[in-house]
Amino acid sequence: MTAKPDLDNQTWIEGLRAGRPEVAAALAHRLRAGLTRAFAGSNGPMRSDIEDFAQEATVRILERLSAFRGDSAFLTWAMAIGIRVSMTRLRRDKRVAPASRLEAIPSSSKSAASQDEHAELLAVLADAIDKDLTPRQRETLLAELDGVPQVTLAERLGVQPNALYKMTHDARKKLKAAIERAGFDANSVRRLLARA
C-alpha cells in the first residue's frame, strides 16, 4: 500500500483511536520503511524480523497513544517506539553486541600527582561498591557495566525496566555520596577522567 506522508498528528491519532484499519496499515508501512533504513547494512534483523517488529510496534504504539506529548511529529515518536521494540527483541535474543559502557571511556595520560588522585578515586569507589551497596544493587550495576542488556537484567530479577533503572540510579547516588565524602565532586571526577 502507498505511504501517506502528509497525515498530520491529529489525523494519525484520531484514526488510530477510532481503529481505522487503513491508518494502522499506513503506520505499519511507515514503521517497516523506517526500520529497514535503521538496520540497513547491519547483520541483525531480516526482512521477516522487520515485519514482525513493525507489527509488535504498532500494538505498543496503540497502547501508548496517551503518552504522546504532541511536541514532535507523531511519526518520529512512533518510530522511536518501533526502534525500542526492535532493539529490545534483538538484545533479549542476543542478536546484537551489548551496548558497552566501557568503550566510552577515553584513555588518559596524566601527571604523577593526578595519577595518585585518580588511583585514590578508584580505590574509594571500589570500597564504596563493597560497603555501601546492597548485594542486589552491586550485582545489577556491575552486570550493566559488563554490558548485560537491561531487558535481560530486568527479566532475571523479575522487575520492570523502570524499577531496574531506579535501582541502579539509587546505587549511583549512594556511590556519588561516598566519593563526595572522600572529597571528590563531579567536577573533580570529570577532570581526573578527562583526556590528557
Partner: protein, 89 residues
C-alpha cells in the same frame, strides 16, 4: 569481592557517577521525549533547556544512545552528520 582498582568498570562507573543527579529520566521517560530531540538535531538547532535531561540520559545510557542512532538512521539522518556517535565524546 573487592574490585581491583585497575578494573576498567571502575572508570566507566566513575564517569557515570559524575553525571548522576537526583533528577534523571528513566529509559521509558526518554522514549517519549527523544522524538523532539531528534527533530532538534535534524534542524541543526541547539537543544533548549527542556532537552537537558534528555541529553543527560543519553550520556548515561548506552542503550538509549544506540537507539537514538538507529532512530536517526530511520529518519534518514546520518548520525555522524549531527555529531552523534556511540561514544559521547
Amino acid at each position: 569481592m573487592s574490585m581491583n582498582s585497575s578494573d576498567p568498570r571502575l572508570k566507566a562507573l566513575a564517569r557515570m557517577i559524575a553525571e548522576t543527579c537526583d533528577l534523571e529520566l528513566t529509559c521509558d521517560e526518554l522514549l517519549d521525549r527523544v522524538a523532539r530531540y531528534v527533530e532538534t538535531l535534524k534542524k541543526r538547532e541547539t537543544p533548549d533547556d527542556t532537552l537537558a535531561l534528555v541529553e543527560k540520559h543519553l550520556r548515561l545510557c548506552p542503550e538509549c544512545r544506540e537507539e537514538l542512532i538507529a532512530l536517526l538512521r530511520a529518519e534518514g539522518v546520518d548520525p555522524a552528520s549531527v555529531g552523534i556517535s556511540l561514544t559521547d565524546d
